[in-house]
Homo-oligomer: 264 residues x 4
């Protein structure tokens, strides 16, 4: 029997239709966690996404997906209410995964009219940072967390580095980390463990959309001691490890999952 | 002659009417920097503040103060315009100091109706974090920075720690640090150096307003290797050091100024 | 079937007769790893230790123990030769665990005649730091590592903090970390992954021997968000996670395993 | 009058005949500190070194130099005794600077017969790490430190990174940092402040001797936000800042002095 089978455990994955989030959904389903994905995609991508979701369902776990704007409080409440209803007394969220990539990449100074503005910071910090707290709190208030639940968010080396155009995302990532740390502290009495995974440069659609990504990729291939990019599956593996019972004393940390990329 | 005398250098201090900001104004004035303070105080405090400002003026430097809401773009623009006009071609801002303490201290979970909300994060991050970027950018765009200018912001050990009620301020501090780092990077070509000072627990009016501050103070007196709190003057001294020519290769750093408090 | 059963994988545990090392041996044996323990104990403790070893053997794995001075090159070579011979072609070391606690706790300044000396640093750094390299290198040179092998060493928060009497151990711990990082880098091409676990204050015999340990324990019970000490089993669990296939992209890191103790 | 003139303050600089140490001597002499240099150079370099020393003497400060093996206890005691005698009651050491570069750069694994060995770690850690403690302690025990004295040591980004061939130096640097932190803690009651400066890649003779230094230099020129290497004078400037009265609340820190190189 699989590890989490018959436990009526769910993973709720914000941003689970692609990249790290989708790989995480597949990995956790393989070990028997039921999967709830919240995502936001235009209709034209829907078909491809449904094919991915079929792969998850084939693991024989329960599966729900909401294509919805996860940043609107009323949409969030709707989803939480739906889950509450369908979960009954026994189903609970074991792992909340925050895999939201929606930020503004702009320079602080530029001759073109695309400089980073106050509102770019706000929007990026809300989407990639504070949304973790919003969802976490709604789930907690609805009493949907399992005993010994896990909160896992994804950060990057931009938490201590500074990269051209990355200021707003950097601020969002460190905000996400601060929120994760405070959840680890303030909800310790409720058995919740919260950690960040600091992924290396990962081969995703998001990466391919960053201007100059070929240069980033080439530099990473040289820099990484294992001479390859991080894959979504590498990160999903780490989420799985952190979900296991044996990880219950690990909380409030930032764990690099990057094949040693941070070493140089 | 004093170090910065006759250079027509100014320090612009956001939050300069008390605490770290005021001490910094006094210290820099002593060395010949002209002082511009932006602050926000109710009328009943005005008299006491004016007495402090008199001390600064006695150093024989030029002095301006704006009692104004520094977070409103139109107020900011007004002040910048006023400075631009009065500065002429020769006066420039050598040091921009961000000493804004205006955050929401609330628990993430509580039986009382005072839990931390989405908007608490936004307001605190705007006031204590993003406002540095807003002011920095307005000054830069108005061409008011001196050659080899300095940007200095104040952070706390809450950048890696988690304290009850401190989540929003923690998020604001790490945002402030991220912005400071990106300024250091993206404006290096413009000669600007940007650093954070991580003050120890400092004896200020702000500290006295934190619930449970006596306990914080007692713990700090035991913990600090030098068995005293940090004073505003300790921090002002560090701002002065970072303003000196000899500090021009120090940028993008977070420097603890705490008598070694972070060591245990 | 158990996870590592029939793989002919071994864990070699330096300092495996008590505390973190022993708990690790038990945990890994439970999942089917064969166990080799190198330890150094006087005869009077031997009986109690053998009882512990019986518990490991009951897991049905192969077991070897060497009561020997692990810091002497000739003893090390003897043990490696013995393993080489008995392992044949198929048995390999999957996980090398360094759990050596043998350091000098002395003050830098004291009126008594017990001040920290040059040789205290040397001996402590050799025993708790460089010995990892010595063993690692001997095993590597003897071609005893499995594919995708793991090196795991134990550090403490004393890597960034400073505690009275702890200077030599602190130096040894950061040396151990530096060696672990360089192994992660320089042996990446050989598939080896190396990480440090930063345990919280752990309830072990070693802790009880530190002067003032009651005070450390009381402080920790207040400080730890989960209001208990770290147990050897907490740490053993983390070693197990890092040994799993899913951890193969985690290398060169320092992972706190402390229930969030480092957060405040 | 110069800042430290007539105070009978000395700077003792270990490794002061070249690079960071020599630049520091010149800078501190310029501000009126008397200079004592301990160095180890072969006779053939003596003439060039004496020319450098003449530059220091021209500042009109007192000057002593000892060409001696600073790592031998008897040589150290001899020098301390000589200073003690000549200092009388009034002369004191204000700043102790550790600028010793003498380490083994070897790979952990290599087909050539030049692999890093146990003794390489020991020798490098002794020379570049523990020697700070030896000298510090001898000076302290001889009561030669001034009130509010400063201990300053030089580290590198290799304290958290891993570079090929750098393992022993990395271990020595983190040992040096650990010692510096414990001095900051354990001698706080004696008014001593201890800090590390983390220099960027600096253009020195030591750098030019590292195999592959052209590549390091080229990479640094691209990476550094200010597009130049760190100079010995940049670092000397920071030592000067840390020696000033205004730095007396800064202790136990690691301060990057690298033009923001660590940011990316």
């Amino acid at each position: 029997m699989r590890e989490f089978e018959n436990k009526k455990y769910w993973a709720l994955i914000l941003g689970g239709s692609s990249g790290l989030g989708l790989a995480t959904a597949k990995k956790l389903a393989k070990h028997g966690l039921n999967i709830c994905i919240v995502h936001r995609n235009p209709r034209m991508q829907q078909e491809a996404i449904l094919r991915e979701f079929e792969i998850i369902k084939k693991e024989g776990v329960e599966f729900k997906a909401f294509n919805s704007d996860a940043f609107k409080p009323e949409k969030r409440n709707e989803i939480i209410d739906t889950l509450k209803l369908s979960f009954g007394e026994e189903n609970k969220i074991k792992t909340l995964v925050h895999s939201v990539a929606k930020g503004n990449l702009k320079p602080m100074v530029s001759v073109e009219n695309n400089e980073l503005k106050h509102d770019d910071f706000i929007l990026t910090i809300q989407a990639m940072g504070i949304s973790l707290y919003d969802w976490f709190k709604s789930i907690f208030d609805a009493d949907l967390f399992a005993q010994d639940a896990r909160v896992i968010s994804f950060t990057s080396e931009g938490n201590t580095k500074a990269w051209q155009n990355y200021a707003a995302v950097s601020a969002a990532k460190v905000t996400l980390e601060a929120i994760t740390r405070n959840i680890a502290l303030e909800f310790a009495a409720h058995g919740i463990k919260a950690n960040c995974i600091q992924a290396g440069v990962t081969d995703t659609a998001s990466l391919r959309m960053i201007p100059g990504n070929e240069q980033i990729i080439n530099h990473t291939l040289k820099r990484n001691p294992h001479k390859r990019l991080t894959t979504p599956e590498d990160v999903a593996n780490a989420v799985y490890l952190l979900t296991k019972d044996e990880a219950s004393w690990i909380t409030g940390t930032i764990i690099p999952v990057d094949g040693g990329e941070h070493l140089r």
